[in-house]
Symmetry: C2
Subunit: 208 residues, 2 copies
């Protein structure tokens, strides 16, 4: 019924699949094809589309070009989306240079770190002192932030981001950020993901 996170993640998968189909010269695509690509039922694909008013042809499926355009529009792919990263450690530095972001129009505008020795104003992506983050976010009207700082610093950094105008946060620190008002927080819990994987692998081993 309503748009939820999974729905947008699916749109992103449809988009990836459509790009590949287009490259192969496909003109039309059926909900069944996209369902396979995303690993869901075809009725869900059609439902996703109906939420956004995307319609196909009763017989001939959907036109690839048209679909790409509409999905890109929904996902904001027609604009470059600027984000800032807090923390120039392993994860933060990796995301700063991550080709997957750039390819998708996700531009890391600046990285901030509390360690002054990491400052590098002239790199392709500037690394700046954390003290300057608030002003930077305000001046550049950034709305998306990525938190890659250690556990203990995360909620402090989060508060600064929120007070600077950030509206959405991708959080890699394994702490739950108490989210007031209309701020959206997505958590990427890498340790948790691995722990879960390990649990199920060990559990299935025991069953045998």
């Amino acid at each position: 019924m309503t748009v939820n996170k999974n729905c947008i993640i699916r749109l992103s998968k449809y988009k990836n699949a459509l790009a590949k189909l287009k490259a192969l010269g496909f003109v039309k695509v059926f909900s069944d094809n996209l369902a396979d690509a995303a690993g869901v039922a075809s009725s869900l694909v059609r439902k996703d589309f109906s939420i956004f008013g995307i319609t196909g042809n009763k017989k001939g499926g959907y036109l690839v070009d048209e679909l790409i355009e509409k999905v890109n529009d929904i996902l904001g792919k027609n604009d470059i989306q600027k984000v800032v990263i807090a923390g120039a450690g392993n994860i933060g530095s990796a995301l700063m240079k991550y080709a997957g972001f750039e390819k998708e129009g996700l531009k890391v505008s600046a990285v901030f770190d509390s360690d002054p020795s990491k400052t590098d104003k002239n790199g392709p992506v500037p690394i700046l002192p954390i003290d300057s983050m608030k002003d930077y976010i305000k001046q550049n009207k950034i709305r998306i932030g990525i938190i890659c700082v250690p556990d203990v610093s995360a909620s402090g950094v989060f508060d600064i981001m929120v007070s600077s105008g950030i509206k959405g946060v991708l959080n890699f620190a394994p702490v739950s950020l108490k989210t007031q008002e209309d701020i959206i927080v997505e958590n990427v819990n890498l340790v948790g993901e691995l722990e879960s994987l390990i649990y199920f692998v060990n559990a299935s081993k025991k069953m045998k």
Copy 2:
């Protein structure tokens, strides 16, 4: 009823909260406290525990020390868990050095890359040619693999991992790996997460 991924992620969160409580000198903890920490209802905390046969006291909650021990046991924290990484690019290299893994007993045993110039047999974590991955996994009986290779190489690397004995895969490539048999795949879709964040931030902006 049955153990699912969310349940294990919650156990991981309980574990983190319990470590902090213990450091503060707490002896007892109530399901309500852990519910707050994990952002769920207290009845779910009690249900999670009941699945694993963890019982408390009708009046006095749970003993912190006892709980830590039991949760650690469930999550396999009493053993060092070895993993391999395929791909020594930005993400792979970051995870190789990621302190969050080491702290939790997750040991990156080796990293593999197709680029011979990245080979480094003598580092704290060896970086080896991708051709040697299969033998390495077999010889060291590794069961968990992390895929950080580009999109197009992902399914090939996945097949090698599976044929070498890997049972669980954490996949950072934005492609769906067709998982046969009893192999568990967890996807970390960084671009998708950001796209979803951007969508909802933009959507809430429009509402105003």
